[in-house]
Symmetry: C2
DNA sequence: CACTAGACTTTGATTGGTCAAAGTTGTTAT
DNA sequence: ATAACAACTTTGACCAATCAAAGTCTAGTG
């Protein structure tokens, strides 16, 4: 089954056009089918662009908040005007609720699609590390493309091959194919105090350089450590991974490392 | 490195436009860099569309012939007008030579790109069969998408994992990463005569139904067989795969099966 | 040699996605 | 309250890719 580009119906001059920069009416119509109450027989696949916006909105709205338009524009790499225009389209398609000058939030249908993209992204990342032996610092960019190209069939084969994992190489949870994603309760390393022991659970920065640094210092997810010292005034925290040299991190860096604290 | 959409320079009214439907002048300019004599530092990636056209032209022009525009339009799934327009763009970009009303042929640069796409396609097909366990009848469509999403790095990992194979699941040769593709000298099954023995080498039809049939009858690449009878008049040939029931094929079907004849 | 049918090209329009630049607003700080 | 500013939206344009329909060639056929 190929990606079916929506047919080109309304040829010649066509119907109502309100003023300004108003395109996309057909697109909206098609997406609207996606969430029709009757389970539609053939889903029209959302475009790569739509998938990217949905995923970024999902990631920005963590915790019921509205995702800010500015942040969204930066996240998808477009100008603010482009983001506004696209978000309106998503709202027309009932994939998002848009509050002008306040922000955007996904609807139920939008969330469902976003989670599918996220699942693909994270399973692919793990696959690239586990099966093909890429470094965890390179897989994010690869997955950014592949997440739009892989079919459900291939995805489920990968999932099975990996043994139905539930976290990706960075410790991010892999959403299940249906249902709500698990919610881990993790602590940022910044909130740890001296003598606390814990385990690195998640690294929330995909920048290759940072990931390589974290790996070199032995702080990849799963690594056990003890906090040696911590000082908000010095803006730094020193931790000692088991059987490793101690590492001192500034607050900005430590905030990107989420840990599971021993109780 | 993300797919860099070419920047949007010449804003506002801009330079020369000859009459008619003349877009794509910028696009051409960018692609032209690809084959500049100076090795350009950052290749602008050809779009998915360009990759698909190049691949299909390559496959249609087998043997120095000009690929016919009509066949190309069918192959890429667009109307003839669209194919004409795109081929002109490719010619502007020096990826193809276009002879109006005669056909199109790839240039050196176009051939290089086409072979890269074909290499990705076929390695991916084999990977999907070998590593993920998909059926050989489903991998073509999957690869049609993935061939545009996979980086050189991932491709070389796959190549290594598969042991640098030289044919895909259908027996099609996998072009090497540099240099000319191997040329097999194969015989269509239609040209075999009774009592000849041989080995299936290649099945040149990607239709799932045909591939499933071939598999059921035991005529997948590598299968040894003997010709039982052949009659151009009856338009049919009967072959017996080793340790299998004999199969009778019409000429149209037998032509799609290429074999290596025992000398 | 003139005709014609099919293959191809041209023309004009559409859509999704984008940007630059100008216009609008809501929120802070005086 | 008001001014300033950053964040956001609007406007008008562009480009790649496409189609439908109308126009043009060309290779036969008679
Ligand atoms: Mn992406
Ligand atoms: Mn990740
Ligand atoms: Mn393709
Ligand atoms: Mn193949």
């Amino acid at each position: 089954m190929n990606v079916k580009t929506p047919p080109h119906p309304g040829s010649k001059k066509d119907v109502s056009r309100q003023g300004g920069c108003f395109h996309k009416y057909l697109f909206s119509k098609i997406l609207r089918q996606t969430l029709s109450l009757v389970p539609s027989p053939s889903y029209p696949m959302p475009s790569v662009t739509v998938e990217n916006y949905l995923k970024q909105i999902y990631l920005l709205q963590q915790g019921g908040e509205l995702a800010p338009m500015g942040g969204l524009a930066v996240a998808v790499g477009v100008t603010p005007g482009t983001a506004t225009s696209m978000v309106k389209t998503l709202a027309d398609a009932n994939l998002a609720d848009y509050a002008p000058r306040a922000g955007v939030r996904l609807t139920e249908a939008g969330t469902r699609l976003a989670l599918q993209v996220l699942r693909r992204h994270r399973l692919i990342e793990l696959f690239l590390v586990q099966t093909l032996g890429l470094d965890w610092s390179e897989v994010h960019d690869e997955a950014e493309e592949l997440e739009h190209a892989i079919s459900d069939k291939v995805l489920e084969k990968i999932d099975a091959l990996l043994g139905h994992p539930d976290t990706d190489p960075h410790g991010d949870p892999i959403p299940p194919s249906t249902g709500k994603p698990r919610q881990q309760k993790l602590t940022p390393l910044t909130e740890c105090t001296p003598d606390m022991a814990g385990e690195v659970a998640r690294v929330t920065d995909q920048a290759a350089e940072f990931l390589q640094f974290v790996d070199r210092q032995g702080l990849t997810p799963g690594a056990q450590f003890t906090v040696e010292s911590q000082s908000p005034t010095a803006d730094a925290i020193t931790v000692r991974p088991h059987n490793r040299e101690p590492v001192t991190l500034g607050t900005a860096a430590a905030m990107k490392i989420m840990v599971k604290v021993e109780e």
